[in-house]
């Protein structure tokens, strides 16, 4: 172990997801094993549209925040902006930090998104093609992914290093890793991290379906939406696309201590690898190495890990490779595993940010939410937390995230 005063600790966080727009409520629902999956209603569709269900986030427009005023919403048409700003505002409130002019230059922003404001680009495309009308002036800013961080910077006044590091479905974790890395490197003392994705756009959902990624029911089977996302189950049949956002405020341990800011969990280690293998299929050796690197960085043995918050999207290949990698790292002693996507679906780049927040909340309260819809797969024998939330003290939790294009990001969380 090197010096730990530059280690990143978590000061505050907030998430919106299919389980709710108030995090404490969403957490209670998660502990109860509720599902946030329902019918897909974001756009009109014909009978042949291949996807019918999604994890939609309920409206936040009635909340009293300046960035939710109708004028702002008219300019920043993509929902990614308001949800990034809402989660950031609340996370900062909860952290108790005030971004004063002294702290602002030492505050970095890595808030990101995997798919960004594509809905704005789609709208511009349709306007131009169908109606021969020019794009709105805010089209390009809406479509620039780094504008999420730009708006967070304007909202908070933070003026340190800013970037949006995209790694597909691992984007949320990469955002926190880069924030922690900036802190470790001394580029900043505080980092506003997170990710947001609202990808329920017709062409995107159709694309997920034609690549056989999304849930498809067995022919003739009528599955309630709540039962569709089944990570690690024998009858898992693809992921359910959902919406969401998660913000995490990190700070150097010495900074938190000198400002008297409370923290209960630290980012003790992380690993990043890429597969160099296949466009979407995961690759066992590099996924395994990613977990190993994160444990080595945290300076702990696999046996010290108390629970695992899995990536587990509910696809045949993805869940199996994750299980095989867990076997390779932990041998026969895989700690209890939970898959939050069983309840909230797959919020793309935002998922790993939201799930990390769930993992942290679970460490603080000594609880692990269940993996719902679980029907054990005989090829994957391990302790999957199922049916009910489990009470467990968790000094170390491993959070996995793997993205298209073979971007792997693993984080070891440590209870302080």
């Amino acid at each position: 172990m090197g010096s730990s005063h530059r280690q990143a600790v978590i000061l505050g966080y907030d998430a919106v997801c299919a389980l709710g727009t108030r995090f404490p409520d969403a957490w209670e629902k998660a502990l109860r094993g509720d599902s946030g999956i329902g019918p897909l209603t974001r756009f009109p569709m014909d009978d042949n549209f291949p996807v019918r269900i999604a994890g939609e986030v309920e409206s936040i427009d009635d909340l009293d925040y300046p960035f939710l005023k109708p004028r702002e919403r008219a300019k920043w048409t993509s929902p990614i902006f308001k949800h990034a700003m809402l989660t950031t505002s609340r996370a900062i409130e909860r952290s108790g930090i005030e971004i004063t002019p002294d702290i602002a230059p030492r505050t970095a922003i890595t808030y990101s998104s995997a798919l960004g404001g594509l809905d704005a680009a789609l709208e511009a495309d349709r306007r131009l093609v169908k109606e021969n009308r020019l794009p709105k002036p805010f089209t390009n800013p809406n479509a620039c992914i780094n504008m999420v961080g730009g708006k967070v910077s304007i909202l908070t006044g933070a003026t340190g290093p800013i970037t949006a590091t995209i790694s597909a479905c691992a984007t949320g974790s990469t955002s926190m890793i880069i924030g922690a890395m900036f802190i470790e490197q001394g580029l900043c003392d505080v980092a506003i991290c997170g990710a947001v994705d609202f990808a329920l756009v017709p062409a995107i959902i159709a694309g997920f379906a034609t690549m056989n990624g999304t849930f498809y029911p067995k022919s003739g089977e009528n599955v309630p939406p709540q039962a569709a996302s089944r990570p690690f189950s024998r009858n898992r049949r693809g992921f359910v696309v959902s919406e969401g956002a998660g913000a995490v405020i990190l700070a150097a341990r010495e900074f938190a201590q000198s400002w008297g800011l409370r923290y209960q969990v630290a980012l003790a280690g992380w690993g990043m690898t890429s597969d160099a293998h296949h466009v979407v299929a995961p690759h066992l050796p590099t996924v395994t190495r990613c977990m190993e690197l994160s444990l080595a960085h945290a300076g702990i043995a696999p046996s010290a890990v108390s629970s695992i918050n899995a990536h587990a999207t509910s696809t045949q290949v993805g869940d199996k490779v994750e299980y095989d990698a867990l076997c390779a790292v932990f041998g026969k002693k895989i700690p209890p595993v939970t898959a939050n996507k069983s309840m909230m679906g797959h919020a793309m780049g935002a998922s790993s940010a939201i799930e990390t927040i769930f993992a942290v909340q679970g460490m603080i309260g000594g609880k692990i939410p269940p993996t719902i819809n679980y029907d054990p797969d005989p090829d994957m024998v391990f302790d999957c937390v199922t049916d009910n939330a489990r009470c467990l003290d968790q000094p170390y939790v491993l959070k996995n995230a793997f993205g298209f294009g073979g971007c792997n990001a693993c984080i070891v969380l440590q209870k302080c």
């Binding site: 530059r6 780094n146 933070a158 590091t165 597909a168 160099a276 590099t286 190495r289 298209f404 294009g405």
Partner: protein, 421 residues
């Protein structure tokens, strides 16, 4: 936590594809010759006077021999295969062979501002005209910002950290800055750092035109008959940027990797400065830009007067260039007149996320040859009479410290100091 290593970081090689040429060598040769890479758009039809753009000449993935026809069909976001080609070029230029041992210690960080917007357009068209089941299964991979780097990894075999650092028009410097820090601190040994953008689709061109960011070439404009004159940073009649496509990738490595493999360093990454504006989503902010330059210079452990060449962001917008000059005056004071300042965007236009990486490569190559590249299309104005913009022709100018500036929409500023070796 691991202990910091404080290693020196060298630039071993680079590759580029720009409107001046599909390779770095062609780009540099044409830059030295004072040429511009602009023409009336051929990639698509647009209904705007902002129709002069920078297209990479002769870039055809299949004709290049690097890709199968099927591959080119599937990867219909042009930024994917373009990046693979340029990464290949950069590794060859560096002389680095991607053995598995070095591959696992190699990161690939390729930023972009607008990503695979072209693929999205094709998919929307398919969706509207042929139905949802005809949307390509490759749509999502094409759209993901990390896919250019991912596809390069699949073809070239590196397996270290991989993501796309996005900072709009400063993305290339984000990649270089982050990559250099990761090598310095021992997270990785080698980084392919760069940026790519292929923004020449109608919505984006119209969008920039509506924002008033790009030049509208009216019949009385000097670029009307000679499109090569459309981009004129620091000139009296600058009227907006010229939108271009391009890609640039630098190979960065730790000092001991360069030594162990007998590879020749071309420059050292000496300093990184990085700030955000918290101000406005497009207008620049002098205070935070000045701080980014100061940080980069301090990080290099030198003083402002030690900088001997400045590669300006210089996009050729009326306000942007004024504000950059103000920032330079604040940082360099009375020394500014002695420091050549030029903008490659006069020749290449604005390749958005790729610009900073391309410009870093051009500046380093010029530094090695003891010269500085010009700002072409120059027409003097009292606004900048205290600036030596190296008008129109390259100049012999031995130097060993250069500052490369990049600023992006969303208020992101990233400046890098390179040191000659």
């Amino acid at each position: 936590m691991k202990a910091p290593m404080n290693r020196r970081v060298f630039v071993l090689g680079y590759g580029a594809a720009t409107p001046l040429g599909a390779t770095f060598d062609l780009t540099f040769e044409n830059a030295v010759a004072g040429k511009a890479g602009f023409r009336r758009i051929t990639r698509c039809e647009v209904k705007t006077l902002s129709n002069v753009v920078g297209e990479i000449p002769d870039w055809d993935p299949v004709a290049s021999g690097m890709f199968e026809k099927k591959e080119a069909h599937n990867w219909n976001a042009a930024f994917v295969l373009l990046t693979v080609a340029v990464c290949r070029q950069a590794l060859a230029h560096a002389g680095l062979v991607m053995e598995p041992d070095i591959g696992r210690r190699t990161a690939c960080l390729i930023g972009s501002a607008l990503n695979g917007m072209d693929a999205f357009r094709i998919a929307s068209e398919k969706y509207a005209n042929a139905g949802p089941l005809r949307v390509s299964p490759y749509l999502l991979p094409n759209l993901c910002g990390n896919m250019p780097a991912s596809k390069a990894g699949i073809d070239l075999g590196f397996t270290g950290p991989l993501f796309s650092p996005q900072g709009a028009c400063a993305s290339g410097n984000h990649a270089i800055g982050m990559g250099a820090r990761m090598i310095r601190d021992g997270d990785v040994d080698v980084v392919l750092a760069g940026g790519v953008d292929t923004p020449l689709v109608p919505e984006i061109i119209q969008g920039f035109a509506n924002m008033g960011a790009t030049i509208k070439v009216t019949p009385e404009d000097r670029a009307y008959d000679d499109p090569g004159q459309a981009s004129r940073p620091f000139s009296c009649d600058r009227k907006g940027m010229v939108l271009s496509e391009g890609c640039g990738v630098l190979v960065l490595a730790a000092e001991e990797v360069a030594k162990a493999h007998g590879l020749k360093p071309r420059a050292e990454v000496a300093g990184v400065g990085w700030t955000s504006d918290a101000f406005h989503f497009t207008s620049p902010n002098v205070e935070t830009i000045v701080r980014a330059m100061h940080q980069a210079i301090e990080d290099a452990q030198i003083a402002p007067q030690d900088i001997q060449y400045i590669n300006a962001h210089g996009t050729s917008t009326f306000k942007g260039d004024l504000s950059e000059a103000d920032c330079l005056r604040q940082v360099f004071g009375h020394h500014l007149g002695q420091i050549p300042v030029s903008s490659n965007k006069s020749q290449i236009g604005h390749t958005l996320g790729a610009a900073a990486a391309i410009e870093a490569a051009l500046s380093i190559e010029a530094m090695q040859m003891g010269m500085v590249l010009p700002t072409i299309n120059h027409c003097p104005t009292p606004d900048f009479d205290d600036l030596d913009v190296v008008p129109d022709t390259f100049r012999a100018h031995p130097h060993s410290f250069l500052l490369s500036n990049a600023y992006g929409f969303g208020g992101t500023n990233c400046c890098i100091v390179f040191k000659g070796v």
